[in-house]
Amino acid sequence: MRKTFLLVSKFIFTFIIAISILSSCQSSDKKKNNEQTELIESTKKDVDPKMMEDFNKSKLIFYSLPSPLETAMLIKRSGARYDEEILNPIGNVTNYNTNLKMALNLGVYSADLSYTSLFDQTQSAIQYMGCAKKLAEGLSIIDAIDENTMKQLEDNMNNRDAVLEIISETFMTSNAYLKENDRAAISVMVLVGGWVEGLYLASALTNGSMDNNKRLLDRIVYQKLSLITVMNLLDSHPENEDIQYLHGKMNELKAIFEQVKIVNTSKVQSETDKENRVTTIKADSETQISKEVFEALINKVTEIRTEFVS
């Protein structure tokens, strides 16, 4: 009798410990690196003390990377063309067997899916959604992309707005499922895969020239800011070996991006239009990138992306 009681007690204790560990994973985003600390320290100026005190009490931090959908929109709006040749071939999907490869390529295919959809390449979009579905299933992400999603996509192929809604929903569902099932590290791998693919697509569409499309070049240069977010996301899971590998890759990219200059040449100011409920953030900003650094950046992005999809 006593033995049974002890056994049940042990079980409960183990369970509580497991739940505590899982819960602590939920708040792992609270960690931050030095660069982010600098940002936070700088916020201590000119802030009412009560507000600052409140922010110091609890520090839950979200890092929001440009999603595959946003990146594809940025590429399209820069005036870039559609080029199917640069996408990850759908036949590659069967090559991915590890969690790292499946997660990275779920991100990669999500970016390709967004790009094909924005350029109204309906047949390709269905095929890329099929790849994303296969990888989501491989990662045991339940209900993110099912037969119903595929049917919805097929039924709405001529309605771009509806297609974008479906893509955004599948991306959020996968992301939420991973985060809420204590697999946040996998979620980070998906995000990094999608971000790298977006950067690769933009880089490839320049055809190696800094002069072909200035707006596209600008989009690439400003990914330096998003790389800070990527590093912060990776820093949230220092114990994970796959994340350590990605950290190494992103550090190689960071070393090149550090040679790119982005400077605000005026104070950041804002103007709010109450009637239309919109605020415009105004600041003059200058960027500098040499031809050598641009080429090094393109080569490094291509190298990392090739490693991800191979």
Partner: protein
């Protein structure tokens, strides 16, 4: 025998409590999908999931790069029984660029940037908590939408 049953009941109850606590987090996904996304209106949700359980007085920060010439809509959702959410958009020098307190604690606002900037959205669940209700914590979601491309007018 009686003690065995008691131990088993305690065990099952503990499991149930842990399960309820855990599904509390899971519910934020449906909350974000069913409540948060609607607030984005005609803007396309970017697909990122930023939601968690917060209580009165809790704070959070969100770091995001806002790209030039792109119009963003931020929609902050909370369960009904939580107090209002105070949010500010600040730059890295902590210049306050927008404060929803000046706009009746609105939970939806649009932003455009003239040059690409990394900005920080800081939020706090106010602690003017209604003691009559028993809910002390609940889901809070911060979602971003992007303005769709304007359809080109067909030439006649």
């Amino acid at each position: 025998m009686k003690n065995n049953k008691k131990a088993l009941t305690v065990g099952l109850l503990t499991l149930l409590m842990c399960f309820i606590a855990h599904t509390g987090f899971a519910q934020c996904a449906s909350f974000a999908k069913n409540v948060g996304k609607i607030k984005l209106g005609e803007f396309v949700h970017d697909g990122n999931y930023n939601a968690t359980v917060l209580g009165a007085g809790d704070t959070a920060e969100l770091y995001k790069t806002f790209f030039a010439n792109q119009k963003y809509r931020v929609a902050i959702s909370k369960i009904e029984n939580l107090p209002n959410i105070h949010f500010r958009l600040v730059d890295k020098e902590n210049n306050i660029l927008f404060d929803n307190q000046e706009h009746d604690f609105t939970d939806v606002w649009d932003f455009t940037v003239e040059s690409t900037q990394m900005l920080i959205l800081k939020l706090k669940v106010l602690d003017d908590y209604d003691m009559e209700t028993e809910i002390t914590q609940g889901c809070v979601a911060v979602l971003f939408g992007i303005e769709k491309e304007k359809k080109k007018k067909k030439k006649k």
